[in-house]
Symmetry: C2
Subunit: 203 residues, 2 copies
């Protein structure tokens, strides 16, 4: 039987690395947009993670025979009414970087006391094939925003996201530790279960 | 500060054991219905896990100052249109036992081939206090129903629930292994995060 092929519809290298390493023991060939020559940019215009992940997954699945996986994810801070939310990656504007985004968050909630700095990382994954959604997965993890960046691992808002059960920010966790508790790690665990349960024993 | 107290609104010993052992490192005193003299039986009349867990949690929270945690959970088998579902515990009737329930499931899908024996364990937890819901958590795990019972650990439908990523039924897993992947283990992980994030640093 031919190896299944899965297109990873993301241009974010941090995400791609986490997803590829989680799925590497499955008998699936994972391809990037670049490898397929699909450089066209899909514009995230949705107002929720779900909408963005659905749109992106369906968009890239149209010209491709295999499976397509898209993910949208981000940080929801209670004291900011759920911001940065779908704007997580570009919170600090056109020239956004992780560093600038983190500084903007810290600045905006600098007066907020620790007991009101609750936040949630959310990951929505949509698996589709030729314009049809196969399954959707949504997972989240609860934490607290720190008063300064802590840790150097991970990417994005990881240095600000303190995870109470482990008493560390995500950026202080090793990749394997982060995968066990993170929103994306949980979604990937469910995705793997789904693939193994529904796509047959050839995986 | 006084230790927080949490009433575990379940009479199922298998569930109680899993929940207590997961939360034992928190600074929370966990009480059973029996310890509170609350032997009155709450009748599960809902048509979904969510409704049952909400009803049970609110019911037992009315005469109790502390937190109340209720859980409803069960097995949904695709080939049986989601049965046994909310009937999981009493699938084989008034005198239901784990053994009888498992035999009934095996009998009902004995003609169903392996690729159509997909199933899902679902856990709904509702945490409340004095008649008000504080948070709700719903988690699930995907698997496949075996053709015979396998394994002696766990309880309920665990001997029939094959989990493809670990290539074993839940009843073949040690308690710690099962907690890492099971519906209840995942719900408890989120509950612990919630308690630690929202109920302050005294935990």
């Amino acid at each position: 039987m031919n190896k299944r092929r899965l297109l990873l519809a993301t241009t974010n290298q941090g995400k791609a690395r986490e997803i590829e390493s989680y799925l590497e023991d499955l008998n699936i060939e994972i391809l990037s947009l670049k490898e397929l020559g699909q450089s066209e940019f899909f514009s995230e215009t949705g107002t929720t993670f779900d909408e963005n992940a659905r749109g992106k997954s369906l968009f890239y699945s149209m010209n491709w025979e295999g499976l397509t996986l898209a993910e949208d994810s981000g940080l929801e801070i209670e004291a900011l009414n759920g911001e940065p939310g779908v704007l997580s990656a570009r919170y600090s504007g056109e020239q956004a970087t992780d560093e600038k985004n983190n500084q903007k968050v810290l600045e905006r909630i600098k007066e907020v006391p620790s007991e009101k700095r609750k936040a949630r990382f959310v990951s929505c994954m949509v698996l589709s094939q030729k314009g049809k959604i196969i399954t959707e997965i949504k997972e989240s993890v609860e934490g607290v925003i720190t008063f300064e960046e802590k840790g150097t691992h991970g990417f994005g808002y990881d240095p600000l996201f303190y995870y109470p059960p482990l008493k560390k920010t995500f950026a202080k966790l090793q990749p394997e530790e982060k995968n066990k508790v993170s929103h994306r790690g949980r979604a990937l665990k469910k995705l793997k279960e789904y693939l193994l349960t529904h796509l047959g024993s050839d995986l």
